[in-house]
């Protein structure tokens, strides 16, 4: 893109200040997104110390108390739910669970995709065909349906759920890493490393992988919010993270019953989901522009 405009020397301008230059390469929205993601990460790691109450502690005398902004007290800054559980503590705990699932599943999916993609590119022949058929199979079904079917048959537990989510998006990663690996194999450096006597795993791990890493990283910023959305959707349906564990999705799901009388129950977790996925996507777009303008 931009073949018409590149190559022209950028008009020389007195730089207004260093600040302007800084914000040009780090747009404010991206900085805010990074800040939000950092906040989420810190929340997830320090959840134990941030929760004012135990997240599952029931206090029936303090049911459905409004948050501070709706005229409540600071004792429950974000109010309480239908069982008198503190919403702030539940949101913190939910962030921890949701991020744990998202990180673990994205890692599994990326690993699976990269390994299968590289195997296909290395061996070609029938191995490649098997991988391609698997990719077709995965891509031909909406993942939500597959996930629901597996959950129907196997029931649900957290490790199983993480593994299941780990299949989300692997086919896109595999497709990308296969075509990139084929392309790098045709370049000199991979052949050179091979001719110098490097083993296949060394060529792929130390030479090809770093060269395709930027695209894979950008791809991770697509997979990660996808997993967050999928997990929250399934949990919202009551088929993902099971109570008493709190996840952002199942908080919205249960809060739905109180849409009119206690809207704060679903407002806060919804806002966290939207802001988190929005931030990652923004950061992903920005990374893509910086690292690898060639992929869409």
């Amino acid at each position: 893109m931009n073949t018409l405009s590149t190559g022209l020397p950028a008009p020389f301008r007195q730089s207004r200040s260093r600040l302007a230059a800084f914000f040009k390469s780090w747009p404010p929205l991206v900085l805010m997104s990074l800040g939000w993601l950092l906040l989420m990460l810190v929340t997830a790691v320090c959840a134990q110390w941030l929760m004012p109450y135990e997240f599952s502690q029931i206090d029936l005398r303090a049911r459905l108390q409004p948050p501070v902004l709706f005229g409540g007290t600071w004792a429950h800054a974000l109010g309480t739910d239908e069982l008198g559980r503190d919403v702030l503590s539940r949101v913190v705990s939910a962030i921890q669970i949701s991020l744990l699932i998202a990180f673990a599943s994205t890692a599994i999916s990326t690993l699976l995709g990269v390994v299968l993609g590289m195997l296909a590119a290395h061996f070609r022949g029938w191995i490649e065909n098997v991988v391609l058929v698997l990719i077709d199979f995965q891509a031909s079904m909406p993942f939500m349906i597959i996930a629901l079917a597996v959950l129907a048959f196997f029931g649900n537990s957290l490790p199983l759920f993480i593994c299941l989510m780990g299949f989300y998006g692997w086919e896109r990663t595999a497709r990308i890493s296969r075509s990139l690996t084929i392309a790098s194999n045709e370049q000199g450096y991979a052949a050179a490393a091979h001719d110098l006597g490097a083993s296949a795993s060394r060529v792929y791990g130390r030479h090809v992988l770093p060269n395709i890493a930027s695209t894979i990283i950008v791809n991770i910023t697509v997979t990660f919010p996808g997993v967050v959305l999928l997990e929250s959707g399934l949990s919202f349906l009551g088929l993902g993270v099971q109570p008493p564990m709190a996840s952002l999705g199942n908080m919205v799901g249960y809060g739905r019953e109180y849409l009119q009388s206690a809207p704060w129950l679903l407002l806060c977790p919804s806002a966290v989901i939207v802001m988190t996925t929005f931030s990652i996507s923004l950061v992903g777009d920005w990374l893509r522009d910086r690292l690898d303008p060639s992929i869409s």
């Binding site: 893109m1 931009n2 073949t3 018409l4 058929v133 077709d136 199979f137 031909s140 079904m141 909406p142 939500m144 349906i145 597959i146 629901l148 079917a149 597996v150 959950l151 129907a152 048959f153 196997f154 029931g155 075509s179 919010p225 959305l229 929250s232 959707g233 919202f236 349906l237 009551g238 088929l239 999705g249 919205v252 799901g253 739905r256 849409l259 009119q260 809207p263 679903l266 919804s270 989901i273 939207v274 996925t277 929005f278 990652i280 996507s281 923004l282 777009d285 869409s296």
Partner: protein, 311 residues
């Protein structure tokens, strides 16, 4: 061209076979259905009778063969809960789902494609950024949040529309709106990036350089080329018409395929889940076939027998 199409047909048949086997494998691996459906402390004779009735006492490979024989005979099992034929239960729900997904798809196309093309043609302008901001917001917002937001505004706040249910046009409006907003966002983004890429190609510059008008270049040279990746996505959307509304149908208590799937999963009604899997897989395969046929029409390279349009 025929070689390309027949190759695709074989691939799709393999995919369909894999989906069917997938359904069978998880159906059987998930533990003894007899124990899941009957309570564990049911008398052993009853469990044995159940196994016999469902053919669960035969060796696994016989069950596998029998499963395919049954499928070819159009026998998809009966709902383990109420004994109604599973496929009939599933097919009965299709019209309700299509009633919201088809209008939503049309709206998505009407909003998403022009928005994407417009944004691409005004690449990096203020309108482009505005549209893309909307698009990112639209596809990062989970559909249940969007749905509940619309309920809060139009049903609870303004009182114009019902919060959920089935029957009149008013009931369908919010589900359709939810589906089309999020779908249009994805489509706009995808169309834009396809279009931006095409507009950067040398042949566009060549067309401009030989003096064609901007309009001619866009309509005759850019759009057909940008259509190729976009058609793939639209194909996926058409294939997802049957089951693309799982969450939305649940939020609005819409008695379609998605809600049937959720309730069957929750109650572990395995035959119904399996029948839904088959219907969805069949739709996806057919949609993929149509997409492949469209490729042949859109991409002259495939028509003349050269490969390589799909890397």
């Amino acid at each position: 061209m025929f070689r390309y199409l027949s190759e695709r047909v074989v691939r799709l048949l393999i995919t369909l076979f894999l989906v069917l086997s997938f359904a069978f494998v998880i159906l059987r691996l998930s533990g003894d259905p007899a124990l899941i459906i009957m309570s564990p402390d049911a008398p052993p004779e009853a469990i044995e009778a159940f196994r016999k009735a469902w053919g669960l006492d035969a060796p696994l490979w016989q069950q596998y063969v029998g499963y395919f024989v049954n499928l070819f005979q159009g026998n998809f099992g009966t709902s383990m809960k109420d004994g109604a034929p599973a496929m009939q239960t599933v097919l009965e729900r299709i019209p309700a789902t299509l009633a919201i997904t088809v209008p939503a798809l049309i709206l998505q196309l009407l909003i998403g494609v022009p928005a994407g093309v417009y944004a691409a043609l005004h690449h990096n302008s203020r309108i482009d950024r505005f549209l893309m901001g909307f698009s990112i917001a639209g596809h990062t917002c989970p559909s249940f949040v969007l749905a509940l937001l619309l309920v809060m505004i139009f049903a609870v706040g303004l009182g114009w529309l019902p919060t959920g249910g089935y029957g009149t046009l008013q009931h369908a409006l919010l589900p359709i709106l939810t589906l089309s907003l999020s779908g249009a966002a994805v489509l706009a983004r995808f169309t834009r990036s396809a279009m931006v890429e095409v507009m950067g190609q040398p042949y566009i510059r060549a067309a401009l350089a030989k003096g064609l008008s901007w309009r001619q270049v866009v309509f005759r040279h850019a759009l057909p080329n940008a259509a190729i990746p976009t058609v793939t996505l639209i194909g996926m959307m058409v294939g997802g018409l049957i089951a693309g509304a799982v969450v939305v149908e649940t939020v609005f208590s819409w008695p379609g395929e998605g809600r049937l799937l959720v309730t069957s999963v929750a109650s572990r009604d395995l035959s119904v889940v399996q029948a839904i899997l088959l219907v969805v897989a069949a739709c996806m395969v057919i949609a993929n076939l149509i997409v492949d046929a469209l490729y042949v029409m859109l991409d002259p390279r495939l028509r003349s027998g050269h490969r390589g349009a799909r890397a």
